[in-house]
Symmetry: C2
Subunit: 286 residues, 2 copies
C-alpha cells in the first residue's frame, strides 16, 4: 500500500516517521518544502504538489492547520489532491476542521469515486511521536476498515464514531470540555491564591473527588510550577473554538461557556501568549 | 471521649451512625427532633438544645446547611453551643459555609478557650454512609491531631490544608471546578446531540484523553441515561456558589465562569428542578 502524506508540521512530522518505520511506502508533500527533509532521509519520496503525491497513492493522509488549508490542498485546480487522485483511493483528513465543510469535501471527492474519512486526533505531538494518539473517525465503515491498519500505527485509541463529519464533531466536543474545564481550573486556583492557599495542596485534595480531571492533574500542575510550555497551544485552541462556535451557531445552539473560554483565551492572545499552552489562561486571573 | 453531634440531615445522619458504631458516646441534637430517633435507638443520647449537647462533650461536631445555621447553633444565647461548651473542648464544623465567617466563629470560640476546626467534606450521602468522605480541614495542627481519629471514622481522604478557614476555601475551590466543568460537559453533550451523535459514544471517546474528568464519566453517564437523581443537588450547589462569589468578591477577584454556572443552575431552579442533581444543567441546553 502506497501512502501520500500531506502536511509535515508539528503533528504530521512524527506521524509520517512512524508510517515509514512501519514499512509503508510514503510520498510526502509540505507547503514549506524543507520540512520534508527528515522524512526523505528516512526513505520517503518527495512530491512537488498534492496532486503529484496523490497520483501514485492508495491512501492520502492530510494533517493541516485549518479548514481553508484542507480545502486548498484537496481542491486547488491542477495541483490539488483531486487533480491527481485515482478513483478507488481513500482520503483521510486528520486535521481538526469544520464538520460541515468536511461533509462537503467528502461529497466532492465521492463524485470522483474517492472515499473520505475525517479522523482528527488528540494527544498532541507527544502522542504523535509515541504512536498513541486518540483518533476519532467519521465516515463509511468499509473505508474505516481499510484505514484501520494505518490508524493502528499512529494511535492507540481508535474509534469509528459515525458518518462523515462525526469525527470532527467529536473532536469539537473534546475541545469544548477542555476549554471550559480550563476556566474552572483557573478560577479554582485563582480563588485559592487570593485566599493565601498553596496551589499544590488544592490540586492534591481536589484530585481525589468529584473535581478530578485530566486537566486538573496535568495542567494544574503546570500552572502551579509556572510552566506555560505548550502541550496544546492557545492559538490552536482558539482555532478549534472558532469551529465549535460556527458549528453550534449553525445548529441554533447557544454555548455561553465556550464563548467565555474563547474570550479568556483571546485575552491571552492579546497579551502575546498565543503560543503558550492553554494553561496560560491563568494569566487572566493572576 | 464524648461527642456531641448537631445536625442529623442527609449527611449528618449516616455520619453519626458511623461514630456510634465505632463505639463513641454520642449526644445528638437536631432542629427537627424526630430525626434523632434512629441515632437514639442505636444508643445516642438526645439533647434538648445545642448548649445541653455541648455541655458534656469533649468534641462538638456540626453538620448544617449554611452559614446562618452554623452561627445560630453555635452562638444563640442560652441554647447555643457557646452557652454550654467547656473550655478545652473542640468544635468541628463539617458544614460548607463562608470562610470569612468561619474565621470569625473560630475567634469567638477561642475567647472561651474552645478550639475550632473547619472540616467540610465531599463525597455526598453515599460517602457519608460508607465512611469514605473527603475531609478538608482548616485550623491548628494540634486540634487536627486531636480530631484525626474521629475523621478517620467518617472519611477516607483527610487533609489538613491550612489555618482556620482554609478547609472552607478548598471546598469552595472544589465546587468551582465541579460547577464550571458541568458547563463544559453539558455544552459538549448539547453540541453532540445537535449534530446527531450518540452521547454515550462521546463519553467513551472523551474519557480517554485530555477531556477526561470524574464528572464526564459519572454525571455524563447520568445525563445520557436521563437520570437526574441527586448525587449533589442543584439547590446545594447554588448555596455553595453563593459562598464562592461572596468570597471572591471580597477578595476583589472576578470569576466569570462561576457566575455563568450560577446563572445556568439558577435557570434549572426556576424550572422547578432545584432538588435534582447538578447534571440537570443539561436542561439549559436540551
Amino acid at each position: 500500500m502506497h501512502i501520500a502524506f500531506l502536511g509535515l508540521g508539528i503533528m504530521g512530522q512524527p506521524m509520517v516517521m512512524n508510517l515509514i518505520q512501519a514499512g509503508y511506502t510514503v510520498t510526502v508533500w509540505n507547503r514549506s518544502p524543507h520540512k520534508t527533509t527528515e522524512a526523505c532521509t528516512a526513505g520517503a519520496i518527495k512530491a512537488e504538489h498534492p496532486a503529484a503525491a496523490a497520483a501514485g497513492a492508495d491512501v492520502v493522509l492530510t494533517m493541516l492547520t485549518d479548514t481553508p488549508d484542507v480545502e486548498a490542498v484537496l481542491f486547488t485546480e491542477e495541483t490539488g489532491v483531486s487533480a491527481g487522485v485515482r478513483a478507488g483511493s481513500l482520503v483521510i483528513d486528520m486535521s481538526t476542521i469544520n464538520p460541515d465543510d468536511t461533509r462537503v469535501f467528502h461529497q466532492r471527492l465521492s463524485k470522483q469515486g474517492v472515499q473520505m474519512l475525517d479522523a482528527p486526533v488528540s494527544g498532541g505531538d507527544v502522542g504523535a511521536a509515541a504512536g498513541t494518539l486518540s483518533i476519532m473517525v467519521g465516515g463509511d465503515a468499509a473505508a474505516f476498515a481499510k484505514a484501520l491498519p494505518i490508524f493502528e500505527i499512529l494511535g492507540s485509541r481508535i474509534t469509528h464514531v459515525g458518518p462523515s463529519g462525526a469525527g470532527q464533531v467529536i473532536k469539537a466536543c473534546n475541545q469544548v470540555c477542555c476549554a471550559v474545564n480550563m476556566v474552572g481550573l483557573c478560577e479554582a486556583l485563582a480563588l485559592a491564591k487570593a485566599s493565601g492557599l498553596d496551589g499544590q495542596v488544592v490540586l492534591d485534595v481536589l484530585s481525589g473527588g468529584a473535581a478530578q480531571s485530566w486537566a486538573l492533574e496535568h495542567l494544574g500542575a503546570a500552572i502551579v510550577a509556572d510552566n506555560f510550555d505548550p502541550g496544546f497551544m492557545v492559538d490552536l485552541m482558539q482555532k478549534d473554538l472558532g469551529i465549535v462556535l460556527n458549528t453550534s451557531t449553525d445548529a441554533g445552539l447557544s454555548l455561553p461557556g465556550v464563548s467565555l473560554a474563547h474570550q479568556q483565551f483571546g485575552m491571552v492572545q492579546e497579551n502575546g501568549a498565543g503560543t503558550s499552552g492553554t494553561q496560560a489562561m491563568i494569566h487572566c486571573y493572576y
